[in-house]
């Protein structure tokens, strides 16, 4: 096969592919177990996709999936900063889904790019300090628990934002090193973070779509629950949501 010629400038861009591929293969081999767990936990999105398919906003689940997928991929390639950016996007899309699933009209506006909350100076859909999500739990048996869950969401969001806002500890490059290289500590830290985020996403969806969660098949419920960490599960249990 004849390789199509590319310009010198284009080849400067393409050369990064080589090192990223090497990193990816190395990460997938070295962190095989972690990657398997994360991929398995990501499959809980299939359950939500099935449960919420009648809702227009369910299309956001594919977006969340791709965010998680991109995060896994970036992390495997040793692009840790970008892996966090994709994770924050996954969290934002989950917050949007949790809101829009019960607000189809606003979803229609949002889909068209309309930011009505700016125009009419009303609150952002999530509310001041995520108040909408606190409100979701306000009528439940333990409303304090929903506030604690929101605190978790908020702290994870802040943590991920450090990569967006270029916090000194989250830079992609280190010292003179320009080319991304596999870093066990950074991978492990990302691995813990993504598992927390997947847990938060599921806990949030259980809070916002409890009826749909309860209507899931036993195996789907179990898959969703397997992706939730103990701390979040305890909060959901105390609100009688499981």
């Amino acid at each position: 096969m004849i390789k199509p010629k590319i310009s010198r400038q284009a080849s400067d861009v393409a050369q990064m592919n080589k090192v990223l591929s090497q990193n990816l293969i190395r990460s997938l081999k070295e962190f095989k177990k972690e990657v398997e767990i994360i991929c398995e936990q990501s499959r809980c999105l299939n359950c939500w996709s099935n449960a919420l398919q009648a809702y227009e906003s369910a299309k956001l689940i594919s977006e969340i999936f791709v965010d998680l997928y991109a995060s896994i991929h970036f992390s495997g390639c040793a692009l840790y900063k970008y892996a966090d950016m994709a994770l924050r996007s996954a969290l934002e899309n989950s917050l949007n889904l949790a809101y829009f699933v019960n607000h189809p009209v606003e979803f229609g506006w949002w889909e068209k790019g309309k930011e009505w909350y700016l125009e009419s100076k009303v609150q952002h859909p999530w509310g001041e300090a995520y108040s909408y999500f606190k409100y979701l739990g306000s009528g439940l048996s333990n409303s304090k628990a929903s506030e604690r869950l929101v605190t978790h969401i908020s702290s994870e969001y802040k943590e991920l934002s450090k990569s967006i806002h270029s916090s000194s500890l989250r830079l992609q490059t280190g010292g003179a090193k320009l080319s991304p290289s596999v870093d066990i500590k950074r991978f492990e830290s990302w691995s813990r973070r993504i598992q927390k985020i997947v847990s938060v996403i599921n806990a949030l969806l259980i809070l916002a779509c409890n009826k749909q969660f309860r209507d899931m098949t036993k195996s789907d419920k179990n898959l969703v629950l397997s992706a939730i960490i103990k701390e979040h599960k305890t909060l959901l249990q105390s609100m009688d949501l499981l």
């Binding site: 299939n46 996709s49 099935n50 398919q53 036993k218 195996s219």
Partner: protein
């Protein structure tokens, strides 16, 4: 039990799916000799979608007219990377019975390959009943969709027959809840309450599948069941009356 989970497909394609699809393809589209240009919907898997090249090579469809279905996002991504159109990642039986509006725009199809085994089903009580209900819902969607020149279709239903009994009474009630003007409904008294053995289950499934088409003004061209170990596959071909 089958030695390999993938083996069933290879056997069924050669033995049942392809020859019957070609036979009825000729009846539905007698004038098209080179390619029957049938629009296909196939429930399939990312690591075993061998039925698609076989149906294409068999002159039944072009690749651009093939729509695949898988319940899993990773699998959807992999199938899309092979250049296929893949619909909603969800359980087909849930979509078509509860949220059919999501997929209605893609109907009608010329071949519907409802291979539920490819979707890694969980063996639980009520699974087969829901699959059969989804066939009723599929007929409803096919009949409701704007008429095309085909005026008929081929439906392939493939399922794993497990040890759970089929609640026939409940199934018939479910099917009768799909209202069609002038249709008296299936007579519950002519069906047993439960189907427990492989023979009873295949017998009931065949009886029900043969009864559905006339409800939607289709005439049955043929119904061909085959069992391979504990797998049942039925090819049904219908044409509008």
């Amino acid at each position: 039990m089958l030695q390999s989970p993938k083996a069933y497909k290879k056997r069924l394609i050669g033995k049942l799916w392809l020859p019957k699809a070609q036979h009825y393809g000729n009846i539905l589209r007698p004038r098209l000799r080179k390619n029957k240009r049938l629009k296909i919907l196939s429930l399939t898997s990312d690591d075993n979608y061998v039925e698609i090249p076989r149906l294409i090579e068999g002159g039944l469809a072009y690749k651009q007219d093939v729509f695949l279905w898988t319940y899993d996002h990773f699998k959807k991504m992999r199938l899309q990377s092979e250049g296929f159109q893949v619909l909603t990642p969800a359980r087909y039986e849930d979509t078509v019975t509860k949220s059919s509006g999501v997929i209605a725009e893609h109907f009608p199809f010329g071949i519907l390959n409802l291979d539920f085994i490819s979707q890694d089903p969980k063996m639980s009580q009520g699974r087969m009943e829901l699959e059969i209900e989804s066939i009723e819902a599929t007929f409803k969607l096919q009949a409701k969709s704007p008429a095309d020149s085909l005026q008929g279709f081929i439906l392939i239903y493939t399922t794993m027959v497990d040890e759970n009994s089929v609640d026939v009474k409940n199934l018939i009630s479910k099917l009768n809840s799909y209202h069609v003007d002038g249709w008296p409904g299936l007579a519950i008294s002519s069906y047993p309450s439960l189907a427990a053995t492989l023979n009873e289950k295949t017998g009931i499934i065949n009886k029900v599948l043969k009864a559905i088409p006339s409800k939607y003004d289709y005439t049955l061209l043929g119904c061909h069941p085959v069992t391979v170990d504990n797998i049942l596959s039925v090819v049904l071909a219908v044409k509008q009356i």
